[in-house]
């Protein structure tokens, strides 16, 4: 594969977070397949970072107008490019313009909530102009195809990938003591505690704890992560589950996160609006069974009972039953998570790029 790609992204190298991680995985996967990629981010510097062969990153340009100008300039002066990749739907209009002006194919990546709700006409037109759209989950693809008019074969799924460090390992008693998690069982949830993300279902789990602790008196629910909703959640935990049932761990380091996955007995976060649910996958990769929520893209990270179950968090009895049954089932077979590893992701990304390069250019209005 010798495709030359201009990647217009919100962030990539030099930034943390799910989208930056995804973009890094994607460009590295494509570069492994032989693609030459120039990344133009709005955030994050790659200074001092050793980039894999085939990848280079421009300094970030935060200002929208200047970002657009620079996109056009690079597209014109640093080309030729075969593909313009757009890493976020907010930038779809400029990616569309650049691709058309330089005669390149236009590949748009969607992540989840970015295409679930906000549907301004210009963005819709920019999405509908894409030669290929990739979505991180089937749920996101389904929602997208509900409001944009694109031939379904143009919208492919490229699921999140799980890092190679997420593998099963021995539980750490040091961590157990440090976070005062007791003798367990330990239910774990990881994520931002934001007032805008109450769909993650923490409160519903609090409500289920009394029934669970009747059977498992030492059971605790460990909630890792911080955010503007933490204080309220702490209050709700006391009201619904009592003083000792929930541990709020705050922000945890990457190392501690891995240790927590290996220490816990079950991952419980019945979220109804995950774009994909990468945390489910990380947990499962470490051998942890998952209780997730019905809705959004969770079904892609928890596709069947080999990994866990999805429940309606508003059904407390079902939630209690799901947690109890999954606790009894032991660990996840690593084979179930293998297809989400980076090698598979890279191969899938390269296949999609090859498809994009060889398929006829899409005619506008084609059904």
């Amino acid at each position: 594969m010798t495709a030359r790609m201009l990647a217009l992204v919100s962030d990539c190298y030099g930034m943390g977070g799910g989208i930056a991680r995804y973009n890094q995985d994607l460009v590295e996967g494509l570069a492994e397949g032989g693609a030459q990629i120039l990344v133009l981010p709005r955030h994050g510097r790659a200074d001092g970072i050793h980039l894999p062969a085939g990848i280079s990153q421009e300094p970030p340009v935060f200002n929208r107008l200047w970002y657009s100008v620079k996109s056009l300039w690079i597209g014109w002066r640093r080309g030729p490019f075969d593909v313009v990749f757009c890493g976020h739907v907010y930038m779809a209009p400029i990616a569309w313009v650049v691709a058309r002006l330089i005669g390149a194919r236009y590949w748009l990546q969607t992540h989840g909530t970015d295409v679930w709700e906000s549907r301004p006409p210009l963005r819709r037109r920019a999405i509908e102009a894409a030669d290929m759209v990739t979505a991180v989950s089937r749920g996101t693809r389904h929602i997208l195809l509900g409001w944009v008019h694109l031939p379904p074969e143009c919208v492919r799924v490229l699921p999140d990938t799980v890092g190679d460090r997420f593998v099963p390992g021995p539980p750490s008693n040091t961590l157990r003591d440090r976070f005062a998690l007791g003798s367990g069982p330990i239910l774990l949830a990881v994520g931002r505690l934001s007032a805008s993300e109450r769909y993650k279902g923490h409160e519903q789990v609090f409500g289920a704890l009394p029934a669970l602790r009747a059977e498992y008196p030492n059971l605790v629910y460990a909630v890792a992560g911080g955010g503007d909703d933490r204080r309220r959640l702490e209050q709700r935990a006391r009201e619904l589950a009592g003083e000792s049932a929930v541990r709020f761990l705050g922000f945890v380091s990457e190392e501690d996160l891995l240790g927590l996955y290996r220490l816990a007995d079950l991952y419980v976060m019945p979220s109804t609006q995950e774009g994909f649910g990468i945390v489910y996958l990380e947990a499962a990769a470490c051998g942890l069974r998952v209780v997730g929520g019905v809705g959004g893209g969770s079904a892609d990270a928890v596709p069947d009972e080999r990994v866990g179950v999805l429940v309606d968090p508003s059904d407390r009895a079902a939630l209690v039953a799901a947690i109890a049954s999954q606790l009894a089932r032991g660990k996840v077979d690593p084979v179930a998570v293998e297809p989400y590893r980076k090698a598979h992701f890279a191969a899938a990304a390269c296949r999609l790029l090859a498809r994009l390069m060889t398929q006829p250019r899409r005619r506008r209005g084609a059904k």
Binding site: R141, G146, H149, P152, E153, V155, V157, D300, P303, H344
Partner: protein
């Protein structure tokens, strides 16, 4: 003729094929194939095929499906008939291919091995099939040139599922029932759902004359290998023929097509009305040596003894060609009794198919598996009023298109007048706005409801989205893209063939026939036949619709020619009108509207069971 379905989990992360899901899809198609049922799963469980068999060619177990090649690398599940399979088999044998059966299915396997994707261009017949190429790890889905056999698919981004019926996909339990505004709007506009849309957003039809390849990156865009408009365009480029030559061409084309459509290892019957098209088929069958053919005619209790009763004249035609004649009488009570079963068997909403339901039912009762039908003759021979109305409308009204806003203004004024009680058909309000263009005039002629009426029937947001996605006039225009100018006759033929015939008549023939395990063969719907006919202007000049009466020897009786001018009347329109809840003295058009609403209210999307 059979039922096929399959699942291919193409993305690494997709779960393996669910045997239970495939079994449910198979069970939903049971009437399509009462003679056998089979399943196949790849060793890695990433691919599964299922098949319901109606045995027509090579009745032995050697013809059972899914069928694999002798080396096991190719697997096929196939619905349809290949009429030139013996010729293809001989060609392949000459190249060294060895056959284990006398089935057309095995020919497809070897033909794929020999020619790959281009194999479809060699096939004469009606077909929908899937081939799994285990070496290339590719799935090929293919559908016949004119869309006789249906094939639907649902791709969720991880896994692709396909089936002969959309309702079989739903019955599997993994395909969502979310409505597709384009399909729903299309049904209310046309009376049938225009391909490739369905009323379910997750399900699409493989376009007629197309293939779809699926590999680990998912399905490719459909590749068209045949276009009606291009075929008509090529035909129009041929030298014009005189009337006598034209008649000879017509006769030769009918004989050739009927001969090919008689290939079977079971008796072939014919659906016989009092009209010329089916009579010509029976006469040609007799001329080609078919003996003791069963001719099945529908008769309606309401018409017994009056001039609309087709049975007496059909009996005369049957007698002339030495056929056994079966007259099956249908009355309103039977229609009402069958209505729930009709709506259940109806794979996609449609305002037609009732006659086919009853004639197929009669054939099944008589122990028949295969019958020829005159379907498609009107599209080829210019038998519909649209062949005169649409060109006249375009000629007269084209100048008004160039006055900006006039059509829309006239439509609003007339709609308002109609709403206040002026006795005009609601569609007439759109004459100036739509009548001056080919797609517009066709929509006016064929449309059940018009775009501006839909907001009174459906959620306005759904209508807006549906019209945006469907873009009905552009959709019709696409059927006219021939790469060269088409004459008036051919333009109408292209639109009738690509919309009314494909989306309504053929689809109805499939679900209504298969519900009774009857394979309906359509000799007038055949690309070879279409190409062998004279040019459209010649067909119009020789009045092909009437000239077909002289194709068989002896020709059809004079009485049937006279009757053809009175039109084809059934009480089904009245029953449908009543079932639809319309009242008063309304014409067939209004009956269609009422029936369309009744059909739609039967519940198609949402949580209802498939």
């Amino acid at each position: 003729m059979c039922g096929i379905a399959g699942i291919f989990a193409y993305l690494d992360v997709a779960p393996d094929v669910d045997r239970g899901e495939l079994a449910r899809m198979n069970a939903r198609m049971a009437p399509r194939g009462p003679d056998g049922s089979g399943n196949w799963f790849s060793a890695d469980r990433r691919v599964g095929f299922t098949h319901r068999r109606l045995a027509i060619i090579d009745l032995s177990e050697r013809g059972a499906q899914p069928m694999h090649s002798s080396d096991g690398t190719l697997i096929i599940t196939f619905n349809g008939e290949i009429y030139n399979y013996r010729q293809l088999k001989a060609e392949l044998e000459a190249k060294g291919y060895c056959f284990r059966s006398d089935s057309d299915t095995e020919v497809l396997l070897h033909l794929y091995a020999d020619r790959g994707l281009s194999m479809v261009e060699a096939l004469r017949g009606m077909f929908a099939f899937a081939i799994w190429d285990s070496r290339a790890r590719k799935l090929l889905l293919a559908r016949d040139p004119l869309g006789i056999k249906p094939l639907y698919y649902a791709d969720d981004g991880w896994t692709i599922r396909f089936a002969s019926q959309a309702k079989a996909l739903l019955a599997g339990g993994a395909v969502p029932r979310d409505p597709d505004p384009a399909g729903i709007v299309g049904f209310h506009l046309f009376g049938s759902v225009p391909d490739p849309f369905t009323v379910w957003r997750s399900i699409r039809a493989v376009p007629a004359g197309s293939t779809i390849l699926v590999d680990a990156a998912g399905p490719e865009a459909p590749r068209a290998y045949y276009s009606v408009a291009h075929a008509l365009g090529r035909r129009s480029a041929a030298a014009g023929a005189g009337a006598e030559t034209g008649r000879r061409q017509l006769s030769a084309a009918v004989h050739d097509s009927v001969r090919h459509h008689l290939v079977a290892d079971v008796p072939v019957a014919v659906f016989l009305s009092a009209g010329l098209d089916s009579g010509a088929l029976l006469g040609t069958m007799a001329e080609l040596g078919a003996r003791d053919t069963l001719a099945v005619t529908l008769s309606f209790a309401e018409f017994k003894g009056d001039r609309h009763d087709e049975a007496p004249l059909a009996a005369e035609i049957a007698s002339r060609y030495g056929a056994r004649h079966l007259v099956r009488t249908v009355d309103r009570a039977e229609f009402e009794r069958d209505l729930p079963a009709i709506l259940d068997a109806m794979d996609m909403p449609t305002i037609d198919g009732i006659n086919t339901w009853f004639v197929a039912k009669a054939a099944h009762e008589a122990g028949i598996k295969v019958a020829l039908s005159g379907l498609g003759a009107d599209e080829c021979f210019g038998g519909y009023p649209s062949f005169t109305d649409v060109p006249r409308s375009v000629r007269l009204l084209r100048p008004f298109r160039f006055i900006p806003g006039l059509g829309g203004l006239a439509r609003r004024v007339l709609s308002s007048a109609i709403a206040r009680g002026v006795r005009l058909h609601p569609k007439s309000a759109g004459v100036l706005q739509y009548g001056g263009s080919w797609p517009g005039a066709y929509l006016l002629r064929r449309g059940v409801f018009m775009p501006w009426e839909l907001c009174g029937l459906l959620d306005p947001a759904l209508v807006a989205e549906g019209l945006r996605r469907l873009a009905p006039l552009s959709h019709i225009s696409a059927a006219l893209q021939a790469g060269r100018p088409l004459g008036e006759f051919d333009r109408v033929a292209a639109m009738e063939t690509s919309f009314y015939m494909r989306n309504q008549l053929l689809r109805d023939a499939d679900w209504a026939g298969m519900a009774h395990s009857i394979e309906i063969r359509v000799p007038y719907v055949d690309p070879y036949f279409l190409a062998a006919l004279p040019r459209g202007d010649v067909l119009a000049a020789i009045k092909a619709k009437e000239a077909v009466a002289d194709v068989p020897q002896p020709p059809l009786p004079q009485a049937s020619r006279n009757r053809s001018k009175t039109g084809f009347v059934t009480p089904v329109g009245r029953w449908m009108r009543d079932a639809g809840g319309a009242s008063g003295d309304v014409g067939f058009s209004n009956a269609s509207r009422a029936w369309a609403l009744r059909v739609w209210q039967a519940g198609w999307t949402g949580s209802a069971a498939a």
